[in-house]
Amino acid sequence: MQIKRNTLLTTATVVFLVIFLYWLSANRLQNGMLASVLQKGVILALVAVSMNLLNGFTGLFSLGQAGFMSIGAYTTAILMIPVQNLDGVYYMNGVNPGIRALKIAIANAPEFIQIIFPFIALLLGGLLAAAAAALVGVAVLRLKSDYLAIATLGLSEIVRAIFSSPQLDQVTNGSYGLNKIPTFPPMLWGLIPSFVTPFVIVAMCVVFIMLLIKSSYGRAFKAIREDEIAAEAMGINLFKHKEMSFVVSSFFSAIAGGLLAIFMRSIEAKTFSITLTYDILLIVVIGGIGSVTGSILSAFLVTAAKEWWLRFFDQPLLIGDWQVPLFRTGFRMVIFSILLMVVVLIYRKGLMGTNEFSWNRILGRFKRKSSVDEGGVK
C-alpha cells in the first residue's frame, strides 16, 4: 500500500516537473533568470553527484573535479564550434588543420550524423576524461586522505596549465579561450526542446549513478568508505573499486563540464580553476556528504541563492533616507561564505546527512505519526 502510494507520488512529481519544464521552455523570455538558474543548477547537480560518489560514497577525498570538467568542456567545445565560426574564434593563432578538416567532414556528413554529433562530442569528452582518470588513478589512488586531495588538486592545475599553454594554441586557443559554442540541440526530432535537453541528459546520468550506488559495487564503495582494512579483509579488491569509482566520477564530471561549456557558450582555462572545485565541494557539503538527493537539492538551492536570491546584497539599499551600510558588490559572497562556515561548524550533516529523499519521511513530518516507519534510511 505504502509502496504504491510512494510510486504514485513520485510519478506525479516527475510529470509535474516535466510539464513545468515544457512550460518554462515555451515562456523562457519572460522567466530568463529562473530558466538560466535551473539549467546551471542541473549541470552543477551532476558534478556534485559525481563528486559525492567519490567523496561521500567511496571516501576518497578528491579535489580534481575541475580538471576533469575542463577536459570534457574543451573536448565538447572544440568539436561543437561550427566550421564557419572557426576563423572568428581562432583569430589570434589560426586553427589546427586537423580540426578544420574534421569540421568540414562533419558539415558535409549526412543529416543524421549532424543531429547526434553534439551528443557524440559530450560522450567523447567523458570518455577522454575517464581514460585520463584511469591512467592517473593507477598512480594517485594509492595515496591516503589529504595527500590524495592535494594530488588531485595538483592534477587539475596541471590539466589547466596544459590547456592554456601556448604550445596548444591552435587547438585550445591558449589563454584566449573558446567561444561561439552553439547552444543545446533538441532531442528526439524536436520532441524534447533544446531547453530541456540538459535536464534529460543529467537525469539519465544521475539515474545511472544511483543504480551504481545501489548495486553490489556501491555496497563495496561504502564498505571502503567505512573501513578500508576491514573491507579488504572481506575480500573487496580495494584498488579495483577505487579506480572504478574514480573513473565513473570523472566521466560524469566531464559530461557536466561539456554541458557547462554549452550552457556558458564560451570557456577559458580560468573558468576551471581551484575555485570551481571549491564551489562544487561546498554544494556537496551543504547537501550532505553521502546523499545523492541532498547534492541535487543543494545544487539548485546554492545556484539560485548565489545567482538570484542573494543578488540584492550586492546593490546599495535605501530604507527611507537611510542607506543600509555594508551593501555593495561582493557582500553576497561574504554572506554566502559565512553561511557555509555555519553549516560546516554547526550543521555538520548538511541538508540531508547521509539520508536520501523519501516520501515516508516527508509525510511522516506532516502527520507526526509514530507508526510511519522510516523507509530509505540506510
Binding site: I150, A151, I162, P166, I274, T329, M333, V334, F336, S337
Partner: protein, 343 residues
C-alpha cells in the same frame, strides 16, 4: 605485479623517474650547456633567450629569493600538519591578507611600526582562525576539518574581494628594501639578498625554539602522539595556538618579502603560492622544518628557471608534477620519518 593487481612500487618508480627525466632534464641541461660554454643564443618555446653565466646567476638569485619566501610559508604548513594532521588551506590566504594589512599599515605609519602592526595582526588572525574554525572540530573526522579549512580560505578570499575589491592593489615600497646593489654585471635589490639570509636566521631561531625550550618540547610531544601528550598534562590548545602563531608570523614575514618583489596584491594572490608551499613542505618531508626550507628553495629556484626559459605556463604545473612524483616515489618526503599504519 603485486597481489591486488597494482603495479609494484619499483616499476612505478622507474616509470615516473624515466618520464620525469625525459621531460625536463634534457631541456635544462641543453640550455645551460649551450649557454654556459658558448654564450650562444638558444631558441626555446617563444623568443630567443640568451643564457650567459650572468643571466643564469641573476635568475638563480631571483629564484633563491623567491624560494626564501616560499620556505617561510612552507614552515607554517609543516608545523600545523605535524601537530593537527591538517592541510591548512587557509594559510595561503593568511599570507595574502598580510599583504593587505601591510598596504594599510604603511599608509599611515612609518615602516618599522607598520611592519610590527602587520605581523601582530597576522599572528592574531592565525590564532583566531584556529579558535573559530578548527577547535570545535577537534574530535570530528579529518575530512570535516579539511572542509572547514577550505571554507575559511573561501571566506577570506570573498571577504577581501568585498573589502578591497578584486582590482590589484599596488604594494608600497619600503625604500631601503628596494635599494639596488651591483656586483660586477649582477644587480639585485636589497630584499633579494635579505630574503634567504633572513629565512636561514629565522629557521635557526625556530629550530632552537623547538629543540631547546619547554614549549618546543611540548610541540614535539603533541606531534608525536596527540592523546598521550594530553595525558601527560600538556595543554594541547595552548600548544596548537602557539603553532598557529608561529606559522602565521612567518607567513607575515614571508608576505612582506614576497610582495615587495611582486609589487601588487589581489584577493587570489595567496592561493597558488599557498599550494606550492604545501608541495614544498611535502617535498621536504611534512612535519620536518629543515625539509620545508629545502623544499621551498628548490621549488622557488626551479620555478624561476622555468619562467626564464619561457615555460611560464608550466611553472605552476611543474610544482604539482613534482608533488605527485614525490608522493609516489617517496611519500615521506626527502627527510620525513616513516610512519607505520596502525589498525
Amino acid at each position: 605485479m603485486s597481489r591486488d593487481g597494482r603495479p609494484s612500487r619499483l616499476i612505478a618508480l622507474f616509470h615516473w623517474i624515466g618520464f620525469f627525466c625525459s621531460f625536463l632534464f634534457p631541456v635544462l641541461i641543453y640550455t645551460f650547456s649551450t649557454g654556459c660554454l658558448h654564450g650562444t643564443t638558444a631558441k626555446f618555446g617563444y623568443g630567443e633567450i640568451r643564457m650567459t653565466m650572468t643571466t643564469i646567476l641573476q635568475h638563480c638569485l631571483t629564484g633563491i629569493s623567491l624560494g626564501g619566501a616560499y620556505a617561510l610559508i612552507a614552515i607554517g604548513y609543516t608545523l600545523v600538519y605535524g601537530i593537527l594532521r591538517l592541510i591548512n588551506f587557509a594559510h595561503g590566504d593568511i599570507f595574502m591578507m598580510a599583504g593587505y594589512f601591510m598596504i594599510f599599515a604603511l599608509a599611515s605609519f612609518p615602516w618599522p611600526i607598520a611592519i610590527i602592526i602587520t605581523l601582530v595582526v597576522t599572528t592574531v588572525m592565525g590564532i583566531g582562525i584556529e579558535r573559530i574554525a578548527y577547535k570545535p572540530l577537534r574530535k570530528a573526522p579529518r575530512m570535516s576539518i579539511m572542509i572547514s579549512a577550505i571554507s575559511v580560505s573561501y571566506l577570506l578570499q570573498n571577504l577581501s574581494t568585498y573589502l578591497f575589491t578584486a582590482i590589484p592593489r599596488g604594494y608600497p615600497e619600503i625604500p631601503f628594501l628596494k635599494k639596488i646593489y651591483r656586483v660586477g654585471e649582477l644587480s639585485a635589490s636589497f630584499v633579494t639578498v635579505l630574503t634567504p639570509v633572513l629565512t636561514i636566521v629565522l629557521v635557526i631561531i625556530l629550530m632552537v625554539l623547538v629543540n631547546k625550550t619547554k614549549t618546543g618540547m611540548a610541540m614535539r610531544a603533541v606531534s608525536k602522539d596527540f592523546e598521550t601528550a594530553k595525558l601527560m598534562g600538556i595543554n594541547i590548545n595552548r600548544v596548537i595556538s602557539v603553532t598557529f602563531a608561529i606559522g602565521s608570523l612567518l607567513a607575515g614575514i614571508g608576505s612582506i618579502l614576497y610582495f615587495t618583489d611582486r609589487m601588487s596584491v589581489t584577493p587570489f594572490s595567496g592561493t597558488l603560492p599557498g599550494l606550492k608551499c604545501f608541495v614544498a613542505a611535502v617535498f621536504g618531508g611534512i612535519g620536518n622544518i629543515p625539509g620545508a626550507v629545502v623544499g621551498g628553495f628548490f621549488i622557488g629556484i626551479v620555478e624561476t628557471l622555468l619562467v626564464a626559459l619561457g615555460y611560464s605556463t608550466f611553472s605552476d604545473a611543474f610544482t604539482f608534477f613534482l608533488l605527485i612524483v614525490m608522493l609516489l616515489v617517496r611519500p615521506t618526503g626527502l627527510f620525513g620519518e616513516k610512519t607505520v599504519e596502525k589498525v
